[in-house]
């Protein structure tokens, strides 16, 4: 792939340049070793983490920093688990106080069963956090209008879902994702719903800037091999988008010459 790198354009979010268009989560892995191996195989340089209470009973070491070197990976804290704008703002501030960076993956959930974002509360929280100087990467649904408002609110990236978190259904509505990308100036990173490599590839072929995933790796039978697959899938989709695919048509067209046949 070496030389290949030059085939793509640079990818920058909130002033930070990323080598990989794949951002991965750190949750739900069976072991921390598998997590680290999978993340390395994925080629991701930005990884998401959650903010939670220290387990004072110390049943096990949960702190992800005991396993991931902040020098090696850019830590993107999320506000997962928050159901109100206030909570999300509180978690974002706690995350920033950890002292790594000003980025936050804003997530305000509206419903436990579907984990769909509450776009109304998300927009409100985004405005507050942007004013406080956060570099907000906002998880949202595939609604163009909300995406435009989040951009206006000052988010450094808008992250529409491909399908519900952990569903693995892939890009259910490519039209909306494509339109969001067409209309926004900030990077569009599809977050949630990717289930396998072709989902990642199809997503990138819509022209978006990147993809964020977690379950697709952690819940694969072989997370490390799937991480390799995703690295290739993301790259395949990106290059195919840049290369400009052939037109598809219902009628066949021969790929061998029709002239020069024998009598």
């Amino acid at each position: 792939m070496a030389g290949g790198e030059t085939l793509d354009t640079p990818f920058e979010v909130g002033g930070h340049t990323l080598r990989s268009r794949l951002i991965v989560g750190t949750g739900k892995y069976e072991t921390n070793e598998v997590m680290v191996d999978a993340i390395r195989a994925s080629g991701a340089d930005m990884v998401t983490v959650a903010v939670r209470r220290v387990d004072l009973d110390r049943t096990k070491e949960e702190g992800v920093l005991h396993h991931l070197d902040p020098e090696e990976f850019f830590l993107l804290a999320n506000t997962a688990g928050c159901y109100t704008a206030e909570d999300a703002v509180r978690y974002a501030r706690l995350a920033r106080a950890a002292g790594f960076n000003d980025f936050v993956k804003l997530e305000v959930i509206g419903d436990e069963r579907t984990l769909l974002p509450d776009v109304h509360a998300t927009l409100q929280a985004a405005r507050t956090l942007a004013e406080e100087g956060f570099k907000v990467m906002a998880y949202t649904n595939d609604d163009l209008i909300t995406a435009l408002k989040l951009e206006d609110a000052g988010c450094v990236a808008v992250m529409p879902l491909a399908s519900p978190i952990g569903s693995g259904l892939g890009v259910v509505n490519p039209y909306f994702i494509r339109e969001i990308k067409r209309r926004l100036e900030v990077p569009v990173i599809v977050d949630a719903g990717v289930g396998t490599a072709s989902d990642a590839c199809v997503t990138m072929e819509q022209g978006v800037d990147g993809v964020l995933m977690n379950t697709a790796l952690a819940a694969a039978d072989d997370p490390v091999r799937m991480a390799h697959a995703m690295r290739h899938g993301i790259r395949a989709g990106r290059l195919a988008y840049l290369a400009g695919r052939m037109p598809s048509r219902e009628i066949a067209v021969p790929s061998s010459p029709t002239r020069g046949m024998l009598d």
Binding site: G25, G27, V49, V51, V54, G63, A95, A98
Partner: protein, 73 residues
């Protein structure tokens, strides 16, 4: 600083706990064997800068949240 060792009740990460009255946040973290650089402390809903851990003390009824980063998507 207080050395009498009288204890007070606080809410620590959601659970009732007894700590030495007037104990500093840093002392609390040490007593819990937590590295200050690995956690963020919220005292009565106020997030503390790390350089005040040695100065801020804990008193009866305080609500303390010790948080850190865990695996998440």
């Amino acid at each position: 600083m207080n050395t009498t060792g009288t204890t007070v009740s606080v809410r620590l990460n959601g659970k009732k706990a007894e700590v030495r009255d007037g104990q500093t946040v840093r002392a609390l973290l040490e007593s819990l064997d937590l590295h200050p650089g690995m956690v963020v402390v919220e005292l009565n809903r106020e997030i503390l800068e790390r350089d005040v851990y040695g100065a801020r003390t804990i008193h009866e009824g305080d609500a303390i949240e010790l948080v850190h980063f865990v695996g998440g998507g």
